[in-house]
Amino acid sequence: MIPASFDYVRPGTLEEACRVLGEAAAAGDDVKVLAGGQSLLPLLRLRLAYPSALVDLGRLPELRGVEDRGDHVFIGALTTHDEVVRSGVVREKTPLVALATATVADPAVRHRGTFGGSMAHADPAGDLPAVALALGCVFVVRSGEGEREIPAAEFFVDYLEPALEPGEVLVGVRVPVLGAGWGFHYEKFHRTAQSWAIVGVAAAVRQTGGAVEEARIGLTNMGPTPVRAEAVETALRGVDLSPVAAGGTDPVREACAEADDGTSPPADLHAQPDYRRHLARVLTARAVRAAAG
């Protein structure tokens, strides 16, 4: 790796990190926060990013770990993907997070990359932002001026742009525990195990009496930010989940026919927008069925 030169700061406390970032923000310096390096190091390596300094949060143990707080699970920003996947609390209380995180990159990356880093990078092709959106996570952010909370619906502002002000650090994420009756699935469509999702669907479905009572759908890589498929969520309400006879019409598919509504999927080497739209429709139906078990 041959990045351009940069200054390197490794704060020993969260307060120090906030101070360093606050000073850099005041000076207008282009600093980058380094968590696990999953996304930042490739950008540096390819010289697509030229920050004047890196602020490495790697030695802040208070940002690492999973806590069961009853109605929500708090996941520290520096908790690695691997720790998330292995966490009994996450698997039991917020299984969708565990399911999606297990598909992130490969084992080596999952041991370095962090939950908070993946959120703060705000890459719509990342698997976790769509999950946060679907579950209605809350982002806890700290700066020299104190702490504030940002709901997921407001956190992903634009492509690679989170709602973090200069000088702010993502401390952790509150993941709501949805409770009994919910089923979950993350449907990731990608060409190789290590590659990004062409399209991903995060689905949470609550059913009663064989029908959908409530559904929450987040879409990965269908626009500059993760997308909540609200039209589908509405259309799914009350939909019969019984198996469909061969050749019969599937009401789940019909309800998911507008999964791509309001999206603006990107074009790249792996997929053109019309194909992504098609995939969003097909995969959303599959994800809902899988979540409903």
């Binding site: 041959i2 990045p3 351009a4 030169s5 490739p42 390596r45 390819l46 010289r47 490969d106 469509f189 060409r191 190789t192 195990a193 290590q194 590659s195 990004w196 062409i198 061969a246 050749g247 019409t249 599937d250 598919r253 019909e254 026919a257 074009a267 080497l269 792996h270 997929a271 053109q272 927008p273 019309d274 194909y275 098609h278 995939l279 429709r281 097909v282 995969l283 139906a285």
Partner: protein, 833 residues
């Protein structure tokens, strides 16, 4: 053979001779020995080129052209020179008088156009990534930083990106002499007669996409000089060829130039090259009188490691109604890229003799035109010409089978050379020495459960299952063991195809083997030790193998074309035989017996009918002491041997692939894969197994994943591994592999080579399976790589065209439940990348 592999891993010893007649554990050849070299390779306790640190070493970074085609109008390196740590900034213009031209050693025709190929561009750039200037600095970061300060002005010229358009009248030219590098023709039999009145003719065009040979170890070069002599360390497959070529290119006399290939982490043909960076490293070391190092980044490698494949193949097959082949006609356009590198023009010709495959036919006709484009030059990539040929004929055989409504395996059976017809001279003029296609195919069908899968396929078709099942077959052979020198001569290749070996008995009875082949991961040290252990009757552990350094191994033709064992291994055996002959003379002298009465077995020379004898170790010590040798006997048990094969070797095999194709998403899942290969006598089953597995993975990668993509301006879009997708173990099925063993008759070991087999066989097997799955939709081809999007669009187009013919169903009724409900995709919207 999985069981046997496990046995080898666990017990390091296979059971006694099995039904295929493999040797008992008393012999080394045939044992699944774990590789001697692996502990140092996998722990990194070895010397890779990039690990080399020399006193005063400088680091090189290259400025590369951002334009596919442009005239260089201004070069200003002054600002870069004053950057911190910069020792020198050198442009192509600065070196114009001394850098020479990178060599092409294979002028395939008399009138071939071989353009001047300066290691750094002087006046014109012809592909994105072509080196234009370089910075030499005290560390690689400073070198990279200073690149930004070099100023180059370009005057854009038209890029040339499409081969067909490049040959059209009025096309912009890559070189003054035009875009046609050569046209090479070859024919056997009366092709007109074969096609005239042929009841069935299948004509298809296949795109062999451009691939990037992705070795685990990037290229790296270190050059150093003491003012008199030069040493070049390089991650190369060809230290010997490189030395000769660098001497000719740079003018450094051959005897003052040493080339070392330390341990090399993969090549797949990409390190069978004389690269600009190797030449320039030498020139910079000479100019600065200091050691210099360059190591490429992965993105730099994707741009500038020579690429593979990139051919447009038109193949026509004429057959009788019963499926008997009458003739095959091939018209090939081969993308050379911007320049002809070491063996660029010869690559498609290595396939020229293989488009007839394993089949008998009356006539064959082959034409290949090499075309210049403004892209990275192409050259050898695992299989080199033969995967392309095998793909075309094996795809065409499936098309013919479909046309005739015959089972594709049955069609092959009707046409292949029967086992009792060997040796068989094919319509392409090669004499296949041995083979047994029936045995390999029958074994593969049994392991695969062919009939059961066909039944499941019929059921899924009947049920209109959105996930369809396809079955693909590939019965392949390849010409390996490159190569008989006289044949290479007849093809205008610039060198021979022999290989050299030295075997030395050391005073303590240990054995040193020097091989002219140069491994880059194949396990030569292990396999050669096994051959020597059997030949000389010494313990496997007592043999060491030296390679890859021209000051140690003075003579060799290196490693490519599945040649190491079939040529280099045979040379080792020949040297052992010479050592044994000398040892026999010495034993006769010491035992006071006639040479004819000395028998050799298990490492001992004994007088026939008596108990007295000498071990080879005792004889080695005796030559060291030299106290009592026969008159005129040189005090050494050493021998050199150079082996030049009379013929190629012809591994063959049958590969079967079952693929599930999700017609709603276009996703392909390989459900099962069976490979039965016949590589002749097996020296080490574990190594063979590894080669087959890796080869299949690489062939599957071409079928489903990999493609080097340039945009309309000639910029490469696949410069990272996020864009150029390489499958990992997670993306591949368990391979079921087995072997038949039909020894080659063309060499005393009976070996054929295995390095390329899997790659050659697997690509058509997978694509045949994908197309087979989609037959009911009226699909007859999916361009490689068969990406989900491409499959989805192909199905959509076929459905729009109404060509589907489901069993017992009217054409056009094949739709998928999901997409129909959504109105279906627009067939061509947006293109398919």
């Amino acid at each position: 053979m999985t069981e046997q592999l496990d046995a080898g891993l666990i017990g390091e010893q296979i059971a006694e001779s099995d039904q295929l007649g493999r040797p008992s554990p008393a012999h080394e050849v045939g044992r699944a020995r774990r590789r001697k070299e692996d502990s140092r390779l996998v722990t990194g306790r070895t010397m890779w080129t990039d690990n080399i640190q020399l006193p005063g070493m400088l680091y090189v970074a290259f400025l590369r052209s951002p334009m596919a085609h442009a005239r260089i109008t201004r070069v200003d390196t002054s600002a870069a020179r004053s950057q911190p740590g910069v020792v020198a900034v050198v442009s192509g213009r600065d070196l114009a008088d001394e850098q020479g031209s990178l060599p092409c050693a294979w002028p395939v025709t008399e009138d071939i156009v071989i353009p001047d190929h300066p290691p750094m561009a002087v006046d014109e750039v012809r592909y994105v990534g072509e080196a234009v200037a370089c910075v030499v600095a005290t560390d690689r970061y400073k070198a990279a930083d200073a690149l930004d300060a070099i100023e180059i002005d370009y005057e854009p010229l038209e890029p040339v990106l499409d081969m067909t358009a490049a040959l059209a009248e009025g096309s912009p030219k890559v070189h003054e002499a035009g875009n046609r590098a050569f046209t090479w023709k070859f024919a056997g039999g009366d092709i007109e007669a074969a096609f005239r009145d042929a009841p069935v003719v299948v004509e298809r065009t296949y795109v062999q996409q451009r691939l990037i040979p992705t070795a685990l170890e990037p290229r790296a070069v270190v050059a150093t000089t003491d003012g008199e002599t030069f040493t070049l360390y390089s991650a190369t497959q060809i230290p010997h060829v490189l030395r000769v070529m660098l001497a000719l290119t740079t003018g450094i006399p051959e005897h003052r130039l040493r080339v070392v290939a330390p341990d090399v982490g993969g090549g797949f043909g990409s390190k069978l090259q004389v690269t600009a960076e190797e030449v320039l490293a030498l020139l910079l070391a000479r100019r600065l009188n200091r050691p210099v190092k360059w190591t490429e980044s992965r993105s730099e490698g994707n741009l500038t490691v020579h690429h593979g494949r990139d051919q447009l193949q038109r193949i026509s097959v004429a057959a009788d109604r019963d499926g008997r082949l009458r003739g095959v006609k091939v018209d090939l356009l081969a993308d050379m890229g911007a320049y002809l590198m070491l063996v660029t023009p010869g690559i498609p010709l290595l396939g020229a003799f293989m488009y007839n495959g394993i089949y008998k036919m009356d006539a064959y006709d082959f034409t290949c035109t090499g075309v210049f484009t403004t892209k990275m030059p192409t050259d050898a990539y695992r299989g080199a010409g033969r995967p392309e040929a095998t793909f075309a004929i094996e795809r065409a055989m499936d098309e013919l089978a479909h046309e005739l409504d015959v089972d594709p395996v049955e069609l092959r059976r009707r046409n292949w050379i029967a086992h009792d017809e060997f040796p068989y001279t094919t319509i392409a003029g090669l004499t296949y020495d041995s083979g047994n296609y029936e045995a390999a195919t029958d074994r593969a069908l049994a392991l695969f459960g062919y009939d059961k899968l066909r039944a499941e396929q019929a059921d899924r078709r009947e049920r209109r299952d959105p996930v369809q099942l396809g079955i693909g077959v590939s019965t392949f052979t390849e010409m390996c063991g490159l190569a008989p020198s006289r044949v290479l001569g007849s093809l205008s290749y610039g060198a021979g195809g022999w290989e050299h070996a030295t075997v030395r008995m050391l005073p303590t009875g240990k054995v040193e083997v020097v091989t002219g082949t140069s491994p880059h991961g194949q396990g030569h040290e292990t396999a050669w030790s096994q051959i020597v252990a059997d030949a000389l009757g010494v313990p496997f552990e007592d043999v060491s193998v030296l390679h890859g350094d021209t000051s140690v191994s003075h003579k060799g033709m290196d490693t490519y074309g599945s040649r190491s064992l079939a040529v280099g291994g045979v040379a080792v055996l020949a040297a052992c035989e010479k050592v044994k002959d000398r040892a026999r003379q010495l034993a006769a002298h010491m035992l006071e017996a006639a040479v004819e009465d000395i028998e050799f077995a298990d490492g001992s020379f004994r007088v026939r009918g008596t108990g007295s004898g000498k071990t080879i170790q005792e004889l080695a010590l005796a030559t060291f002491a030299a106290h009592d040798l026969p008159d005129g006997f040189e005090p050494a048990l050493d021998a050199d041997a150079t082996f030049d094969p009379d013929n190629f070797s012809f591994p063959h095999g049958t590969h079967l692939c079952a693929a599930e194709v999700d017609t709603e998403t276009g996703a392909v899942k390989i459900r099962s894969y069976v490979a039965v290969d016949d590589v002749g006598t097996v020296v080490n089953p574990l190594i063979v197994e590894g080669q087959v597995h890796g080869g299949i993975a690489q062939g599957v990668a071409q079928a489903l994943f990999e493609e080097a993509v340039y945009d309309g301006e000639g910029n490469m879009l696949t410069t990272t591994m996020a864009d150029y997708l390489i499958p990992s173990a997670a993306d591949l099925p368990d391979f079921v592999t087995d072997r038949t063993e039909t020894p080659a008759t063309s060499n005393p070991l009976g070996v054929k080579g295995v390095g390329e087999a899997g790659t050659i066989a697997s690509t058509p097997a997978v694509v045949n399976a994908v197309v087979d799955a989609l037959r009911p939709y009226g699909v007859h081809d999916v361009r490689m790589p068969c990406t989900p999007e491409r499959i989805w669009r192909t199905v959509a187009e076929a459905r729009a065209a109404g060509t589907g013919t489901g069993a017992g169903t009217a054409p056009g009724t094949w739709t998928t439940a999901g997409t129909a409900a959504e109105g279906g995709p627009a067939p061509t919207e947006g293109g398919a990348g």
